[in-house]
């Protein structure tokens, strides 16, 4: 890890660098969701139990489990048939915060490879629509494959720059997920290359795109709609500063409290580089990789107010 990155991480309030470095050395827990679109939760779990898999329920994610023992789930019949979906345990949190309900029209603006889109589809329970968008043609293939394997009949896949979405879908969606591309500091243990390629200029570049995507997602919301912004990184520029800017530029954006049972996290940063940010940013959450010995994430829940209320 570069000295620049260590220096940066040391500046983040409430971050314990030693624990962070320890988390980077540990492998991430293997999480999975059972697909209730295709079968019942108990039937699928019983199949896995019969094959010797041992797992634990994830308290903050409906249908989510952490594998404890039993081998490679990715090579099983259950995975190939779409009865389970492999997904990191903390990565399931943003969709839980979004909390899609049957009948909602939901946009997943940066959807590939589709983990969160399939999770949204599952919570829609076949009623409503999931629109899964991505800008990369190659990544759309993975998105399409995962939605197919999961059996999502109420999905629409679009291929476009998410920043252009308001041109044709302004005020159209009940809920929007903006899970942006980021510098991925929360998942270094997956790939040390993330730490090696980190630079402040990369963060600045990403931050600009992230704000544009967030603003576009917000503009696609109906009044009264809910948007969840998430990253798997820890930099303030990609997290609180992006939200702070939206709160300044969209007067009808309001942050909402986040409740996730048993997930350990801390409040969002409200002071950075000597500047005071919007105090409501305390309602956003930072999840350090060592909080749950899993992925690091940042999540903000934003409501679009009706007529300024």
């Amino acid at each position: 890890m570069s000295e620049d990155l260590k220096e940066y991480l040391n500046k983040i309030p409430d971050l314990d660098l030693d624990l962070f470095l320890e988390s980077c050395e540990r492998s991430l827990p293997e999480g999975f969701r059972v697909n209730t679109i295709k079968s019942s939760e108990e039937k699928i779990l019983n199949r896995l139990r019969r094959k010797g898999f041992i797992f634990e329920k994830i308290p903050w994610a409906r249908y989510g489990y952490i594998l404890k023992e039993g081998g490679e789930l990715g090579r099983t019949l259950e995975h190939m048939l779409g009865l389970i979906y492999l997904q990191g345990p903390v990565s399931m949190a943003p969709v839980e915060v979004l909390d899609p309900k049957p009948g909602d029209i939901v946009l997943d603006l940066c959807a590939a490879p589709g983990s969160k889109s399939t999770q949204i589809a599952q919570l829609l329970g076949g009623e409503g629509v999931i629109v899964a968008n991505d800008v990369h043609h190659e990544r759309i293939k993975a998105l399409s494959s995962n939605l197919q394997r999961f059996g999502v009949i109420n999905c629409v896949i679009t291929l476009t720059d998410g920043r252009k979405y308001p041109k044709f879908a302004r005020g159209f969606f009940d809920k929007v997920l903006v899970d942006v591309p980021c510098s991925s500091l929360g998942i270094i243990s997956k790939d040390w290359g993330i730490a090696k390629s980190w630079s402040s200029s990369l963060v600045q570049r990403l931050s600009k795109i992230q704000y544009q995507l967030l603003a576009a997602g917000f503009d696609c919301l109906k009044p009264g709609g809910v948007l969840v912004y998430s990253t798997c990184t820890l930099t303030v520029e990609e997290n609180e500063l992006v939200i702070d800017r939206l709160l300044k530029e969209r007067k009808n954006a309001r942050l909402d409290e986040i409740h996730l049972p048993s997930l350990r996290f801390r409040k969002g940063v409200v002071e950075w580089d000597g500047k005071h940010l919007d105090q409501d940013l305390e309602k956003t959450i930072r999840i350090m990789p060592y909080d749950n010995w899993a992925e690091g994430f940042y999540i903000a829940k934003i409501v679009k107010e009706v007529d300024g209320k």
Binding site: R75, L81, G128, V131, Q148, R149, I153, N154, T158, L159
Partner: protein, 150 residues
């Protein structure tokens, strides 16, 4: 996105009836022609949303392919018809299902009508397989859906 017209839908339903004994297939869904004889199924609501959007790549799921008059069901297509398939179903044990999902050539006992049948393991449907005159099964599992061979 081109919706199957009434004639095409009727032909598809007739083939499903004749091959697999299916009555009233994909009733509440819109069927889309997706090139190379492929058929996708999507909910009406999702189809309406798709019409409103731009840069739409795909809707719903791939359920079947019509090839030389035969219907080859995808895994999801056969799962969606769960309970309606009454003909040309072969029951497999867990080991057989694993082999099927590895796209292994397998022997099939019994006599079968036509060139395709559907695999089932308990209440899990596994899509269509080609069956040859000498009783060999060739499961039509796309490479990316196959259980990896050890």
């Amino acid at each position: 996105m081109r919706v199957l017209d009434a004639g095409e839908r009727k032909y598809f339903e007739l083939r499903l009836k004749r091959q697999y004994g299916v009555d009233k297939a994909f009733e509440d869904l819109i069927l889309i022609k997706a090139g190379q004889g492929r058929v996708r199924a999507v909910t009406k609501e999702a189809f309406e949303v798709a019409k409103r959007l731009k840069k739409v790549q795909q809707v719903g799921v791939y359920v079947a392919k019509i090839s030389k008059g035969d219907v080859i069901l995808s895994i999801e297509g056969s799962q969606m018809l769960n309970g309606k398939i009454t003909k040309n179903v072969i029951d497999l044990d867990e080991e057989g299902a694993e082999r099927w999902m590895k796209a292994e050539v397998m022997p099939a006992q019994g006599t079968w009508e036509g060139k395709y049948l559907v695999g089932r393991c308990g209440d899990l449907y596994l899509g269509s397989s080609r069956i040859t005159r000498d009783g060999k099964l060739y499961p039509q599992i796309a490479k990316w859906r196959r259980v990896p061979i050890e």
